[in-house]
Amino acid sequence: MTILSVGTRPTETVVPAGLRVGVLALQGDFREHALVLRELGAIVDLVRRPEELDRIDGLVIPGGESSVMDKLARTFGLAEPLQTAIRGGLPVYGTCAGLIMLADTILDGMNGQQSLGGLDIKVRRNAFGSQTASFETDLDIPVLGDLPVHAVFIRAPVVETVGPRARALATLDDGRCVAVEQGNLLGTSFHPEITGEYRFHQYFLQKLVAAAR
């Protein structure tokens, strides 16, 4: 069930030919991200193996179960090259589990859960409680324009501490941070990919295009 929010649909292609966007496809809603990126004109590769990292110009880490992604990324040798790529400036956008993967520090993680790191933040996993506490709401996100972003939080994390190198992009009414950026990295606690919200992906693709120049 794709619900398109009026006015957020892209009107023009923002990705120059030849640029490839990877979507980490170990587990989670990677197909939804691929769909949004393709509608924005990007060439999309699903990424499950280390060698598939070589040809991409940016990566999206989808929603899903962060502990499973972490285990599979390490088992199949993706974690290390990904960390190197992130340190080297690869643009990466993470939603929900993806945000957790990009955080320098995970709070309430599992036994031995590791993140790739990159964002100077502390993220609390599953910060709202069980599924009955999951919700949707509208957020003001100035960097994306005046129209509020309709955001879906599903057993979502929150950014508990934003370090000096990262910047908060959105907060809930109670002040908790739910979207951040730092250089070429972007992370959200919520899931633009399942609400027909294109602006975050557009914003990310702009970073990717700028980084490729």
């Binding site: 619900i3 899903g64 502990s67 599979l72 993680g109 996993r125 599903i154 057993r155």
Partner: protein, 300 residues
């Protein structure tokens, strides 16, 4: 079934269906103790299903199978960080109310337990918590979605270790979806009648070519190859019940099935993870089960 944008909204279809979206490409494992839940999480399960007896034991021990003791469910919730699902009997809306207050993440209104109502399923719109329901064909899946199910799993035949029914059900559902996409509107009216499902849902599927909710497969999956086959047949993910903890080496088998689901289209990886797993569950051939003991025929 769509909600308008407003302030904070809990329990909307989008939020309920959304959790299932996040489980895609993953394995949900049946567990009967906190210790098994720990093994499942460590092996890479995306969620666990808390229940008192795995289907294979329900099948061999007989008797009425009911919702689990809340203490057991609490202990499993306390043990793991991944989502916890639990089963309520078909039509037993009070078991569902209990599971909701216990704080599980998803309720499985399941044919594996003894039905509490031979006519009605639970009105799942009444709940904030999402439901997954079993289906053997498209009509059954659509009736469940119409009642508010936010996720569907094809039933298979639970507790057998025989994947043939799971194969049949996922093929049936996807085959019927494909057929709808080729129909004109006048034919869709008849199809809705034949599927015993609302026309609006039938028309939606005819135009999108897929269910409006996530479709997992269940019932008889016992090996990494079984799980990968379900994924190649179009499942979004896999439930494994008795297949893990009724096998010789649950830790290794569980981890192997997780990998096989991620790399479901890569036979080299599946071959590698299939090595040295020890004994698979012994199982029982579905064709040897007398009709009254089939679980997949429960649900209406």
């Amino acid at each position: 079934m769509t909600e308008s944008n407003s302030a904070e909204q809990f329990g909307s279809s989008r939020v309920k269906r959304g959790l299932a979206e996040m489980l895609k490409g993953g394995v949900i494992m049946d567990v009967v103790t906190a210790a098994q839940a720990r093994i499942a999480e460590d092996a890479g399960a995306v969620a666990v299903m808390a229940l008192e007896r795995v289907p294979a034991d329900i099948r061999s021990q007989g008797g009425v199978a009911r919702m689990s003791d809340p203490d057991l469910i609490d202990s499993i919730i306390a043990e793991v960080n991944i989502p916890v699902m639990a089963k309520a009997r078909i039509g037993h809306f009070v078991e569902a109310q209990i599971l909701e207050v216990l704080g599980v993440d998803y309720i499985d209104e399941s044919e594996v337990l003894s039905p509490a109502d031979y006519k009605n399923h639970i009105d799942k719109w009444n709940f904030t918590i999402p439901f997954v329901c079993g289906a053997t064909n498209l009509g059954e899946a659509l009736r469940r979605i119409n009642e508010g199910a936010a996720m569907i799993r094809s039933k298979g035949e639970a507790g057998t270790g025989d994947v043939s029914e799971a194969t049949k059900h996922i093929r049936t559902i996807n085959g019927e979806i494909k057929r709808l996409t080729s129909m004109s509107r006048d034919e869709l009216y008849v199809a809705a009648k034949e599927l015993q499902a609302p026309y609006e849902l039938v028309a939606e599927i005819a135009s999108t070519g897929k269910l409006p909710v996530v479709l997992f497969t269940a019932g008889g999956v016992a090996t990494p190859a079984d799980a990968a086959m379900m994924m190649q047949l179009g499942a979004d993910g896999v439930f494994v019940g008795s297949g893990i903890f009724k096998s010789g080496n649950p830790e290794q088998r569980a981890a192997a099935i997780v990998k096989a689901v991620t790399f479901y289209d890569d036979a080299k990886v599946i071959a590698e993870v299939s090595r040295g797993l020890g004994e698979a569950m012994v199982g029982i051939n579905v064709s040897d089960i007398p009709a009254p003991h089939l679980l997949s025929t429960r649900g209406w």
